[in-house]
């Protein structure tokens, strides 16, 4: 892995992109990395497009600016027309999209982006495993799988520990989240 991996998240206000970026920072931190996780704040409006960022590195990154040339972009399909999601995205990087479509169906919507296109139906996985549309956990698992920013087995172990801590009184939630996580890592498609 490069010294520093930069990730940009596009989401909608209130739908968890910021939380997901912080969860990824946590997961990377727990495996010994230096992390930055920060949202781009603005008027906080439910549903409006928002951006969040991660820098993950083997030595401390001192840069305190937004990320313009990310290695990876994580995005919900509904934002593809509203936001220029591939702006600055490195051609040797990847975009991970929450969508039921295949990478081949999505690629024409990405303004000629030549890098890897990955899709994961995080909504469906969440509905099936958790009974609700909480796409965070599966999206997090997908970006970890695609980017390799954290070793997959370390990530699974770390997430299980943090779910056990967070949902100590609700074991069924822990199991659902773990199933969602593992399924996402298996089902993410690349094309």
């Amino acid at each position: 892995m490069n010294d520093t991996i930069e990730i940009r998240w596009h989401g909608r206000g209130g739908q968890g992109a910021k939380t997901a970026s912080l969860l990824l920072a946590d997961a990377a931190f727990n495996t010994g990395k230096y992390v930055q996780g920060f949202p781009e704040y603005g008027p906080e409006r439910m549903g409006a497009p928002i951006t969040a960022y991660n820098r993950i590195s083997t030595k401390r990154s001192t840069i305190h600016s937004n990320i313009y040339d990310p290695d990876y972009v994580v995005v919900d399909e509904t934002l593809l027309n509203a936001v220029d999601v591939t702006a600055g995205l490195k051609q040797d990087g990847a975009i991970v999209i929450n969508s039921g479509k295949s990478p081949q169906e999505i690629r024409p919507m990405l303004k000629g982006y030549k890098g890897r296109v990955c899709t994961i139906d995080a909504g469906k996985i969440s509905e099936q495993e958790l009974g609700k549309n909480f796409p965070n956990t599966p999206m997090l698992a997908a970006i970890v799988k695609v980017s390799g920013v954290v070793q997959a087995d370390e990530f699974v172990k770390d997430m299980e520990a943090s779910f056990q801590h967070k949902f100590a009184s609700k074991p069924q939630v822990i199991e659902g989240n773990m199933r969602a996580l593992k399924r996402s890592m298996e089902e993410v498609q690349e094309g």
């Binding site: 931190f29 992390v35 920060f38 704040y41 001192t62 305190h64 937004n66």
Partner: protein
């Protein structure tokens, strides 16, 4: 062993407060500092600290609460930002002139208008004459470390202390941090033992006296001496902190300045971004460096002159405009320091930058150095009052 964690700047400040366990917090929420009293009130509610948390109806009252508490003999703290800070302004002067070492965490944010919640230094700079010690942090670690040193500094010179960090940029960004064990923090910070205080048995006391012209100037001169004395106190407390943590601070930090010919002088989070730019330019063989101002009050005039006296050209970076058709506050005071010291070799320009959250990138700093290189090459200074990354 220090504790490896990852926290936002606001979490780090709230955690430092928890470790210190002060007596009173008077606070009113305002973005982006709201999380500090929010997290801290959770500690109060959980019984993790025995601080008296006083929720008030305004920042003016928050500082008034701190003044009353500190005068009574308690350690008092607050946190604020932006218009909250300038709404406190009247009481900031009262706190300083009554020589009350209150600690105030500030998440720097633009002042209106246009209405803006993002980072610049217009709030902190606007209260630069209030008589507070003002330390600025580059990142969450420095915000935390500065906070742990604040009470030692303030109580030694009987002046209040502002611990400033950049709103959102560090206040809301999660980064790695090394925390100090709570027992060590408590030992380092110690207990507050004022000589005179309102609740002292057997010594009635009046605070907030009326000072006629026959007395006011002597009082202010004495206050000025406390700020002069604060320079050495900051150095000594920093040295002691370094012995505990290995992290050394001073009034300023010099980065790759030894043989630097072109330098920037900067405050806050953009110093970190500048390091990356300087490393890249150094790799190209360019003699560039940075001086980061940690202590804005007291103003480190001697340290800055010493750091810059041999450069060919420098740029003072102001995240605030004094709206004086001339320059920002850092440039003004830096040039006054150079002139007073008789140092007139280096050429100096001023950049107003990052207002209202305008993102400051590695390339932004590169454009500053490009400007400096041109001055160094041609000897032509041109306009000294410049604006960085503004659309023409």
């Amino acid at each position: 062993m220090s504790i490896r964690e990852r926290l936002s700047g606001n979490e780090a400040i709230a955690y430092a407060m928890k470790q210190i366990n002060p007596d009173v917090m008077g606070a009113y929420p305002i973005t982006p500092s709201t999380e500090i009293p929010q997290y801290f009130s959770t500690y109060v509610d959980n019984g993790e600290v025995d601080t008296e948390f006083i929720a008030v109806e305004s920042e003016h009252s928050a500082m008034s609460t701190c003044i009353g508490a500190q005068a009574a003999g308690a350690r008092a703290i607050s946190a604020t930002s932006s218009c909250g800070l300038i709404y406190m302004a009247e009481m900031l002067y009262v706190a300083a002139s009554n020589r009350l070492p209150i600690t105030l965490a500030v998440c720097c944010r633009a002042l209106t208008g246009p209405i803006n919640i993002h980072n610049d230094h217009s709030d902190a700079m606007s209260v630069g004459d209030a008589g507070w010690v003002m330390l600025f942090a580059e990142n969450n670690q420095e915000a935390y470390d500065n906070y742990l040193q604040a009470m030692r500094i303030g109580e030694a010179v009987s002046l209040p202390v502002m611990i400033c960090q950049d709103g959102f940029i560090t206040s809301h960004a999660i980064e790695n941090i090394e925390l100090v064990e709570t027992e060590k923090v408590k030992e380092f910070v110690g207990t507050y033992k004022p000589e005179h205080y309102l609740l002292k048995k057997g010594e009635p006391m009046a605070v907030g006296a009326f000072g006629m012209p026959a007395y006011s100037m002597e009082s202010k001169r004495q206050q000025a001496q406390a700020m002069i004395d604060a320079k050495d106190v900051i150095r000594k407390v920093s040295d002691e902190f370094a012995r505990m943590t290995g992290r050394q601070y001073g009034l300023i930090e010099k980065y790759r300045m030894d043989d630097a010919e072109e330098a920037i002088v900067i405050i806050g989070s953009s110093a970190g971004t500048a390091r990356e730019c300087i490393d890249a330019l150094r790799a190209q063989g360019k003699k560039v460096g940075m001086v980061k101002v940690r202590s804005f009050r007291p103003f480190p005039a001697e340290d800055l002159v010493d750091a810059l006296k041999n450069v060919k050209v420098f740029a003072a970076m102001d995240k605030d405009d004094s709206c004086n058709a001339h320059c920002g506050p850092l440039y003004a005071e830096l040039c006054a320091a150079m002139y007073a010291a008789g140092v007139n070799g280096p050429k100096g320009i001023n950049y107003i930058y990052g207002l209202g959250g305008r993102d400051v990138t590695v390339d932004s700093i590169g454009r500053v150095f490009a400007g400096l290189e041109e001055i160094a090459a041609t000897g032509e200074v041109g306009e000294t009052y410049r604006f960085l990354d503004v659309r023409e």
